[in-house]
Point group: C3
Chain length 169, copies 3
């Protein structure tokens, strides 16, 4: 790790690397649009899901339980799964996300579930954050299939260093 | 498009490229400060306005009406225009933005309207997102003058790929 | 400044440069994790603290008073100091941050205060934004020790231009 990390920072690949920190519907949406667009243009694309960004990768119906009462409490308030995402504003107890998805459908814009599946089909690399999994008491079994092995911040930095486009969303 | 997109990701220009995703006053402010500062330093600067970020580009007094009742509802709650922006926190029904603008004026910091005009005078390229316009039912006539033609995510990625500084704000 | 700013944008150093715009606990945390991880990997790391991001650098117990009643009001609502940070969501009047810090402790993840001290020990360059200090009526004496001299947006852009990884958090 250290050898690579000390390498020349100037060697960039034709690659998009995103840190998906937010689990909000309106931030996951551009993350998935940008990464699938990059893949469609022939770029490599990788997304590192950390903090709130991990929630969209939790399996449908899976509740985050962990062993700790605080992990259970967090889960009750903030359920995981790509269909449960909230807007960062104008959420209105779910009316906002429903409205946005409906407008998207009328305009032939794929919704986040479709985009997530598309990303996997197109080879976008989806990488969960190990530290966040530990904090939330999640194992790989709790996350959707088709993800890469969880990694830490040092590996996420390496992903970004050789990417020609790097974004924190 | 694909040919360019497959080009070497390492060729960077002396350029700042921002994705302005947020329409919050406190995020539009740094977007405009950074892009006008870049232009003043001789850098090229381009800003791609998408999602909530499109609202500051809506003409004063223009209501987003579209043809869809949901577009009308969104407009009533979230009016466009550079003077109507809210803070992401401490908004207090408009008292927060008023206070921030007042403090800025006392400290000779330009407000967003002044910065937007300055950006246009200095040649900062302001680019609206086509998909967001479709979702909101907006046409180019609904947006302020002096913008570039609307583009999609693929073109926005190309803007970022050759930029030495790329930010998602 | 202009000479450097007009230099070739392609010369990148092995360096992480972050604009820390947010003062939220859940954004300061990844900022400090990424910058200390970068330093531990042999990268240079610099963080430019601006807007809400300046609040974590305010000395413990220091109230932002300035000379202006609006600065005093802002301080009362949004006290500074690394231990007072709130979550961007699920804050619950402080219960959320306490829960997150408790989970972190159980999982051997350093809290923000420890990470801030670690960052300083590891040579992460912490740079306050001059304009934000002016707006808030803060002097260097009001901020914690060990920071670099305050700078403006032009210098912050130069920090980013030669960095192989640049993030707006």
């Amino acid at each position: 790790m250290t050898e690579t990390a000390k390498g020349n920072g100037t060697e960039k690949n034709d690659k998009l690397s995103i840190i998906a920190w937010s689990g909000d519907l309106d931030r996951i949406w551009p993350t998935l649009i940008l990464s699938t667009t990059a893949a469609a243009s022939g770029m490599e694309a990788s997304v590192f899901f950390t903090f709130w960004g991990l929630f969209p990768l939790v399996k449908d119906g899976k509740r985050i339980t962990g062993n700790h009462w605080m992990q259970k409490g967090l889960s009750a308030i903030n359920p995981g799964g790509i269909d449960k995402l909230k807007l960062s504003k104008l959420n209105f107890a779910g009316a906002g996300p429903w409205m946005m998805k409906s407008l998207a459908r009328d305009n032939k814009v794929p919704n986040p579930r479709e985009l997530l599946e598309l990303a996997q089909e197109m080879g976008v690399r989806l990488i969960p954050c190990q530290m966040t999994m530990d904090l939330l008491g999640l194992t790989e079994d709790d996350l959707i299939d088709g993800l890469e092995a969880p990694v830490g911040a040092a590996t996420a930095l390496l992903e970004m260093k050789d990417a020609s486009v790097q974004l924190f969303i």
